[in-house]
C-alpha cells in the first residue's frame, strides 16, 4: 500500500519536474497563455464569493468566474492534446510552477475594492471579446469552436462590467474617487495585453494585435469618458509593466498558485 503511494508521489513529482516547456512560438504555448489568463482571473474573482457588496452582484461576479473557469478547462484540454507528454488539463493547471504560467499581469492583480475588481474585469473582458471575435474564425477548428462558445459569455461580461464602471465613475464622490484610484493602479498593466510574446505572432494565432489594441483603446476610452474618468495616455512614452506572458510574474502570483494548487501538492493524485 505504502509502496504504491510512494510510487505515485514519485510519478507525479517526476512528471511535474519533467514537464516540458512547449517550444516558444508553438500553438501549445499560445493555448496555455489563453487558458492561464482565464484561470487566474477566475481564481481572483472567486475570492469574492460570499463577500460581494450585494447578493446579486456577488452572484454575478462568481458566475463570471465560472464562465472563465469553463473556458480555461476547454483550453487546457486542447493544450494537453497538443503538448502531449502525458499532460492533462489537471496537470497543466495544478502542477506547473509560477515561471511556467503565461497569464498577463493584469489578471493576477489583487482584487482591491469592488471598483478595482470591476475595472480589471472591464479591461480584460473588452480585450477578450475582441480577441475571441478574431479567434472564432481561426483556421484551427478547435480554437474557433472554443472562441465561438466563449464569446457569447464574454459579451455578458463586457456589458456588466462596463455598465458598472460607468455607474461607479459617474456615481457618488466616494465611488468616483475610488474608480480614479483603481484606474491609477491598473492602467500600467494594460499595455502588456498588446505586447506580443513569441507565441503570439500573427502567423501562429491569426490575430492582429495592433488592430486589436486600437479597437480596445477606442472602446475603453468611450467607457471611461462616459464614466467621467480621465483618459490615461497609451503610447511609447507611457510606462507599462510586462513580463507575465513569459513567466515573469508580480509578487502576487506565488500566493495565488499556493492556494490554487494546495490540494494537488499536499495530496498528489487526489480526486474530487
Amino acid at each position: 500500500m505504502q509502496d504504491s503511494n510512494l510510487s505515485n508521489i514519485e510519478k507525479i513529482s517526476k512528471s511535474s519536474r519533467s514537464f516540458q516547456e512547449p517550444p516558444l512560438g508553438g500553438r501549445g504555448a499560445f493555448l496555455l497563455h489563453l487558458a492561464d489568463n482565464s484561470l487566474i482571473l477566475a481564481q481572483r474573482n472567486s475570492e469574492w464569493c460570499g463577500h460581494g457588496p450585494v447578493l446579486e452582484q456577488d452572484i454575478a461576479i462568481t458566475n463570471i468566474s465560472l464562465d472563465l473557469l469553463g473556458q480555461a478547462r476547454n483550453l487546457y484540454q486542447y493544450a494537453a492534446e497538443i503538448i502531449g507528454n502525458g499532460s492533462t488539463e489537471d496537470s497543466l493547471c495544478f502542477l506547473r510552477g509560477e515561471r511556467e504560467f503565461k497569464n498577463c499581469l493584469l489578471v493576477e492583480q489583487p482584487n482591491g475594492d469592488w471598483g478595482k475588481t470591476i475595472l480589471r474585469q472591464c479591461f480584460f473582458s473588452v480585450y477578450q471579446s475582441l480577441l475571441y471575435g478574431q479567434l472564432q474564425f481561426s483556421k484551427d477548428d478547435t480554437i474557433a469552436a472554443i472562441a465561438a462558445k466563449a464569446i457569447k459569455e464574454v459579451t455578458y461580461h463586457v456589458r456588466w462590467s462596463s455598465e458598472w464602471v460607468i455607474r461607479l465613475g459617474d456615481g457618488t464622490r466616494e465611488s468616483h474617487k475610488r474608480m480614479l484610484q483603481a484606474l491609477d493602479e491598473l492602467w500600467p498593466f494594460t499595455g502588456e495585453l498588446f505586447l506580443p510574446a513569441g507565441y503570439e505572432s500573427e502567423k501562429i494565432t491569426g490575430v492582429d494585435l495592433t488592430a486589436l489594441q486600437a479597437n480596445w483603446l477606442h472602446q475603453i476610452e468611450n467607457i471611461l469618458e462616459e464614466a467621467t474618468l480621465w483618459k490615461p495616455g497609451f503610447g511609447a512614452d507611457v510606462f507599462m509593466q510586462s513580463g507575465g506572458k513569459t513567466g515573469l510574474h508580480s509578487e502576487h502570483m506565488g500566493y495565488i498558485l499556493t492556494e490554487l494548487q494546495y490540494m494537488q501538492r499536499a495530496y498528489p493524485n487526489s480526486e474530487w
Binding site: 464562465d67 457569447k152 463586457v158
Partner: protein, 182 residues
C-alpha cells in the same frame, strides 16, 4: 436530428429503431438544476451514433454540447446518461462532448419552454434577442411566469445558474428567473 426519434414510421430499419430507442431513453435524463427539463427538451443532445450492426452490447456514441463553457451540470449529465443507458442494458455507449456549433436557446423544444414556465422560470423569448455590448440598452419585455404580466424589471443579468438572469414582476412583485437568450 432531434426530430428523428419522434416520427419514424413502420418502414424504419432496425438500425433506425435502435437509434430511436436510445433517444427515448435519453428523454428520461433530466437537467440536475432544472429537473422538469429533459436533456432533449434542453437541446443539448446533438446526435446518437450507433455501429451498423447494433445490439445492446454494440458500440455507440451519444454526442452532447454544453449550454455554457463552465456549466457544472455537464459532468453530472454525462454520468446520468451513462447510468440511465446501463439501467436499460446498454453497456458500450460512450458520451462525447462537442463545442461546435455552440449551443443556443433556439434548440430548446416548445414542450421544454412550457414546462419551464409551469415550473416558475420564464422561458427564453421566442424572438431571440441575444445580449450585445450596447450599454444600458433597452431590454426585451420578459413575461412573469406567475401572473403573465410583461411589466417586469431586470435585477441582474446573472442568476442562480449561468443560463438564467434575475427579474422581478412589477405587477405581483414576485422575483423570478428568466432563462436568458443565448
Amino acid at each position: 436530428m432531434a426530430i428523428l426519434h419522434n416520427n419514424f414510421s413502420d418502414s424504419a430499419t432496425a438500425h433506425e429503431k435502435a437509434v430511436a430507442a436510445i433517444w427515448n431513453i435519453l428523454e428520461e435524463v433530466c437537467d440536475p438544476e432544472i429537473p422538469v427539463l429533459s436533456i432533449i427538451d434542453l437541446g443539448i443532445v446533438r446526435d446518437v451514433v450507433l455501429s451498423s450492426s447494433f445490439n445492446k452490447n454494440g458500440e455507440g456514441v451519444v454526442v452532447i454540447t454544453p449550454t455554457y463553457s463552465g456549466c457544472p451540470a455537464m459532468d453530472v449529465i454525462n454520468m446520468d446518461i451513462r447510468l440511465k443507458l446501463l439501467e436499460h442494458g446498454y453497456k458500450n455507449i460512450k458520451v462525447n462532448t462537442v463545442l461546435s456549433p455552440a449551443w443556443t436557446t433556439d434548440w430548446m423544444s416548445d414542450a421544454g419552454k412550457e414546462k419551464l414556465k409551469a415550473y416558475g422560470i420564464s422561458p427564453p423569448n421566442p424572438t431571440q434577442i441575444v445580449c450585445d455590448t450596447k450599454l444600458f440598452a433597452e431590454l426585451e419585455a420578459i413575461q412573469c411566469p406567475r401572473c403573465n404580466s410583461y411589466s417586469t424589471k431586470l435585477i441582474s443579468q446573472f442568476g442562480s445558474t449561468p443560463c438564467k438572469s434575475l427579474y422581478q414582476c412589477r405587477q405581483c412583485d414576485e422575483p423570478f428567473d428568466y432563462f436568458k437568450c443565448y
